[in-house]
Amino acid sequence: MTDTARTTAPTPSEVLPAISVRSAGKIFTVAKGAEVQALTGIDLTVAPGEFVSLIGPSGCGKSTLLRLIADLDSATSGEILVFGKTARQARLDQEYGIAFQSAGLLPWRSVQANIELPLELHGVGKAERAARAEELIELVGLTDFRSRFPDQLSGGMQQRVAIARSLAERPKLLLMDEPFGALDEMTRERMQQELVRICSETGAAVVFVTHSIPEAVFLSDRVVVMSPRPGRIVDIVSVDLGPGTSRSDSLRENPAFFAGVTAVREALHGSPVAPLGADLR
């Protein structure tokens, strides 16, 4: 498989990957000392600026893998490097921005104050915070809502605030755990398009967990297909739909898009997709 980033022929000193996962595994100890192998033998490299989706059925460990990279959990084996640092050091150095399925906004803070939260925690001055929040509010199209509170916003708007917040410190890496999972299909497609635009504008690498095949194909440079029990990578599908800036709604009816969807689907099912009747079982 061709494991190339979009950047052309980088000099050796520049090839430091955004993420490098080497034979990582995770075992959870559950009740009565029983162990669950959540992930095994994970190898994955994400280049700077690359958009990679993790897809797979429930329980395949895709969210766990993201949490390991974010150092919200620690791997039981293997090595995880983020920009050449350990996951822990990368978290302490704030090398990534993160967004979850639930927007996770603080209900007692306005839109603007929510976006400023990471800056405030890391000691950025008031005027600078306000200026940055202003830019981000504009970027996600919430100019008229900056002093609203989260419970006055729709689910899609809340998620946009969460994305703006994840971008607040201009991270070179974004980790997103099903951020559009709870949105309706129409809002979801619009958000995907905005995300793909924002990411290509900021040049950040993205790891994006999803269980939607079209979403993964539309957004990604590569789609990592995972399988459960134990969680592992079964295939990595490269999607060649051009740079994010040129990805628009019309792409969803493009043959290349369908080809990508089919390829991911076949990888998920482990064989060429059976005819419709057989698939229903």
Partner: protein
């Protein structure tokens, strides 16, 4: 009298025009919520007065409202100063007890061992018989001091505020915990930006229970000797002198004080929740 005033306000408000229509509506809704209890209260006083006159009830059994009002006017300067003295005791006890409860709840929510140590102690504090404790405290701190009363209030208000606050502090959503970890936030930052603001509604619930309790316990604590400057002392001494209408006048002061405490707490809660919605 009160009823006619608010009725007049209701009539004049809508004519104020479009700009203040919202205020007019607000005024009407206030009138709607204030009017019924006022009417009920006035009716109750009327029945009381009529019953005392009609059945010729003796003042030591039940004085009439007019007698009580007469006494309120006569003793007003003393009533006012007693109300302030008791109110100050209740306020100091409530504030100190509240701060102590919130701080200890914060500690308990952070340090597991401390949590295990303090919960049985709080249960013990919650069942302390104040009536038994007050005379002992009087002996401890001396009977010319206000401290015993403040300590009594502190003990009474501690448990409801502590228990509610601790519950609130344990409500942190996993996503917020993850987020703050991703931001490499310190424990104190987590407390200040997530845990404590999230617990504010719970703290106010505790405070709303504790505020009237503070007044009641401040008054009851005065029944057991010590300084003769508060409402409780005045009630006991008036009753001991068979001056029943006067005793009732001070009881009326006690009711007003309790309502003020409850009302202010409610107002603070409204202000705090307005900021978040």
């Amino acid at each position: 009298m009160t009823t006619t005033v608010s009725a007049a306000a209701m009539v004049t408000d809508p004519s104020a025009g479009g700009a203040s229509a919202g205020r007019g509506a607000a005024g009407r809704s206030v009138a709607r919520s204030v009017l019924p209890p006022v009417v009920l209260g006035v009716a109750f006083l009327l029945v009381w007065q009529l019953a005392v006159v009609a059945f010729d009830i003796k003042p030591y059994l039940l004085p009439s409202p007019t007698d009580i009002v007469g006494q309120i006017v006569v003793v007003f300067p003393l009533l006012w100063s007693s109300l302030l003295a008791t109110g100050l005791n209740a306020l100091i006890g409530l504030v100190l007890g509240g701060v102590l409860a919130v701080v200890l709840a914060l500690l308990a929510s952070r340090v597991t061992i401390f949590d295990r140590m303090i919960v049985p102690i709080v249960a013990a504090v919650a069942v302390v018989p104040i009536v038994a404790l007050a005379p002992i405290l009087n002996t401890m701190f001396g009977s010319t001091s206000d401290t015993p009363r403040r300590v009594v209030v502190l003990i009474v208000v501690f448990a409801p505020i502590f228990i509610n606050t601790l519950r609130g502090l344990r409500q942190v959503r996993p996503v917020h915990r993850d987020l703050m970890r991703a931001y490499a936030a310190s424990n104190w930052q987590l407390t200040r930006t997530v845990t404590l603001p999230g617990a504010v509604p719970f703290i106010f619930t505790g405070l709303r229970i504790a505020a009237p309790l503070a007044v009641i316990s401040a008054i009851v604590a005065e029944y057991f000797g010590g300084l003769q400057n508060g409402l409780g002392s005045r009630i006991t001494s008036a009753a001991a002198n068979s001056a029943y209408p006067r005793a009732w006048a001070y009881v009326f002061g006690a009711i007003i004080l309790g309502l003020v405490f409850y009302g202010v707490t409610l107002l603070l809660e409204r202000l705090a929740s307005r900021r978040r919605a």
